[in-house]
Subunit: 189 residues, 2 copies
């Protein structure tokens, strides 16, 4: 084994991971992060988010060289022209991505080498809520189902423990299952 | 005025919008939709969602000609290489996109012509929760702040009513503020 394979597991530098955890244990004030998204309406159901700057570990983080853009849209049946995944699909993506990264990091910390992590997420909704046709169905998904297939160099039981621990620590899983206070303010000029 | 400007407002075909609402009022069973995302781990914090098929109005919808791909990543401070916006930023994008589209549709239905809709969203978190350093901070954002700037051919009061109504009907706003039941299943071979 080389030094690289000792330290980097599943593409995660575990030495850096444990150093980060130790640093935050010693200086909890460094754990305060703020993430940001700017969005601009383009036309109809088409809008675009730009994502770059964020606050982390006591300062503005300036390591990102380029901004990310994500376009949103709706399919024809919801009066759009497919300019991007629709907002509820983006929420499913956020959940899939967060659980997957949590699985990969937890596995790296627990010395499990993964070979694949795949998932399918489904969200069921009665669109009468969001369309304002009926007050009874809620606006969002009634339920979300997540189906993971995880393979790696560990027994089934250990792989299942990794997924369970990832659920316990996933930021998006917490928010989607428990909700978050959202404050909205508006200016009109 | 031409027929087009009568029907299409803010890029939304209001004739089709009202026809859709009438159809769903008459046949509520057509309101059952299911959206889906498939995600695959690539390396480290890099994973990719593919989004195409969905169920709508009593059948599989086959109108989308191409799939959408959204890549996720993490910045260096969270052990990634910036392969995409991170999962919590994607959740903010989903919220921004859904509120914006809701504003645009509500405005179209209420005969308000918008000239711009811009927003900035911020999410504050103590990463000790998600990193497993401390059980006290929650894993996700403690709070989300949304700041909208909306302009159009209506008095301030009417523009504010449009935003309020959009909040009342937004699918992602509902899910992020109230939470959704999520079921996770795992296979390991």
């Amino acid at each position: 084994m080389t030094a690289v394979t000792d330290t980097v597991r599943n593409g995660v530098d575990t030495e850096q991971l444990f150093a980060t955890l130790d640093l935050i244990k010693d200086q909890p004030e460094l754990a305060r992060f703020q993430f940001r998204v700017r969005n601009r309406w383009i036309d109809g159901a088409h809008n675009r988010s730009t994502i770059k700057d964020f606050y982390a570990a006591g300062a503005e983080d300036t390591t990102r060289s380029e901004e990310f853009q994500i376009d949103a849209g709706e399919p024809a049946i919801l009066l759009g022209t497919d300019t991007g995944a629709n907002p509820v699909e983006c929420l499913l993506h956020a959940l899939a991505a967060c659980l997957t990264t949590s699985i990969v990091y937890v596995a790296a910390a627990r010395k499990v080498e993964l070979t694949s992590v795949e998932s399918t997420l489904t969200g069921d909704m009665d669109v009468r809520g969001a369309l304002g046709v009926d007050d009874e169905p809620r606006n969002g998904f009634e339920r979300i189902s997540v189906s993971f297939r995880v393979t790696g160099n560990a027994p089934e039981e250990k792989l299942r423990e990794v997924v369970e621990q990832a659920q316990k620590r996933s930021a998006v899983y917490d928010m989607v299952t428990n909700g978050v206070p959202v404050a909205v303010e508006v200016t009109t000029n």
